[in-house]
């Protein structure tokens, strides 16, 4: 499945970031870095997304939101934790409301460190995510999941 390498669609969620990493994620889509030249799109709709980018540590209020977005993304999917806070909780780790990094709530595949993470390293992280996506897709095909005649659909 080579086509995925040229068409990864992101969804970006700001868990409780200071907006530093958010600005860098958005900077990737601006003319200076222009990730769309690699076919990368920032969709904002989980049903269309392939890569879930989370910035900031997860707190008690938004852990369900993060879980729900993760569940709405169709398989195969890859999770990117962008920035130190998303990786470990960062300087907010000891705060009473912070659970820690994103991996406390959902499985994270790629960690992009940095405070704030540079656009170059974010693009690098996405490229890393592509090979993981490939593996997940092969696994999905082997197990025969995700097809329209999926028995899970008969439950309605």
């Amino acid at each position: 499945m080579k086509s995925f390498h040229k068409s990864p669609w992101l969804i970006h969620y700001d868990a409780s970031s200071c907006n530093g990493c958010d600005i860098e994620v958005l900077a990737c889509t601006m003319p200076r870095f222009d990730v769309e030249r690699f076919g990368i799109i920032n969709t904002g709709n989980p049903m269309h997304a392939d890569i879930f980018c989370v910035t900031g540590g997860v707190n008690d209020q938004n852990k369900d939101v993060v879980k729900q977005i993760y569940d709405q993304i169709p398989e195969p999917k890859v999770v990117l934790a962008i920035g130190t806070c998303a990786c470990t909780g960062g300087i907010f780790k000891e705060c009473y409301n912070i659970l820690g990094g994103v991996d406390q709530v959902i499985p994270v595949d790629v960690y992009v460190p940095g405070c704030a993470a540079r656009p170059e390293s974010i693009i690098d992280g996405v490229v890393k995510a592509l090979s993981l996506y490939q593996e997940k897709h092969e696994k999905m095909v082997k197990e025969g999941r995700g097809l329209p005649e999926d028995p899970a659909l008969d439950e309605d």
Binding site: D34, E36, P74
Partner: protein, 303 residues
């Protein structure tokens, strides 16, 4: 019969390629307008190939059926057009296809698609009158041109007229190009769903389509795009072979105009869209229709 079969097969095979390439060129030109490099022009094909490889997530089973019906009716309308069939039937099939799209979206009962569906119905209320008027305009224009044939809705008769239809239908042409902005889901009027990556509420009717389902809507859109641009070409085409070349140039110009409008205007609210579109339809289409009817009766009176 064999000729029709070849044309239908040609349309089914070639239209997605042309439509996909047009979308790729659209994305490239849009990127250049925003001083970006932009994706390669084959990007839409990569996107669709990837979407087919995604998991199919849906809350019900009818969604896929309704989407396939949407695709079928769009292909049906396009095939009818290219084999030279009835123009009214073509537009009716296109409306049927649009209804299937609305049903597919509303079958999921989510707030986002609910908003998208209402906006899509508003958009249909804006485009359908102009589509029907266009068919009627072609019918009247075919009677005006001295071809020795009766008035006709058949595309195969319209292309053999000795005068381009645009000579009689300049107002209809402006009106039709205006609603193309809605049909192509370009910026001031991309209310129900937008081509640009966006939040669920902007994605509207397509927000709940994942993987293959979304790919089907994309492919249906390519077919529809090719068909509607061919209708634009029909305004120019006449019995002279050179007119086909002129028609191609006009189609390219119209498509570029749509991209320019897309990149230079902000999304409007539905009521403003309604007022602007109906204003344009009534002013340009209505006056053109009025003149066409009255001029022809004057001419009959003097003969």
């Amino acid at each position: 019969m064999i000729r029709s079969m070849i044309i239908i097969i040609g349309f089914i095979v070639l239209a997605p390629f042309i439509g996909g390439l047009l979308e790729g060129i659209d994305r490239k030109i849009s990127a250049r307008m925003q001083r970006r490099v932009g994706p390669p022009i084959t990007q839409p094909f990569m996107d669709v190939a990837k979407l087919f490889n995604k998991e199919f997530l849906s809350v019900n089973k009818q969604q896929l059926f309704l989407l396939l019906a949407h695709l079928f009716f769009v292909v049906f309308a396009g095939s009818m057009f290219f084999i030279g069939s009835d123009l009214l039937m073509v537009f009716f099939s296109l409306s049927t296809a649009a209804m299937f799209m609305v049903m597919a979206a509303s079958s999921t009962h989510t707030p986002y698609t609910g908003v998208g569906t209402m906006r899509e119905l508003m958009q249909m209320m804006c485009c359908e009158p102009m589509e029907l008027l266009t068919a009627v305009g072609f019918y009247l224009a075919s009677g005006m041109a001295k071809t020795g044939i009766e008035k006709s809705f058949l595309v195969s008769d319209l292309i053999h007229s000795n005068v381009s239809a645009i000579m009689y239908l300049p107002g209809f042409f402006i009106g039709f190009v205006f609603i193309l902005t809605i049909k192509f889901r370009k910026s001031p009027f991309d209310l129900s769903t937008s081509h640009h990556a966006h939040q669920e509420v902007v994605k509207g009717i397509t927000a709940e389509f994942s993987g293959g389902a979304y790919a089907i809507t994309e492919i249906a859109e390519w077919y529809e795009e090719v068909m509607l641009l061919a209708v634009v070409g029909l305004f120019i085409v006449n019995s002279n072979p050179i007119s086909y070349l002129v028609a191609a140039l006009v189609v390219i110009f119209v498509y570029f105009l749509e991209i320019l409008i897309d990149n230079t205007s902000a999304r409007v609210k539905w009521d403003l869209m309604f007022k602007i579109t109906w204003g344009v339809i009534i002013v340009f289409g209505g006056i053109n229709l009025f003149l066409l009817e009255n001029v022809s009766s004057f001419m009959k009176f003097f003969q």
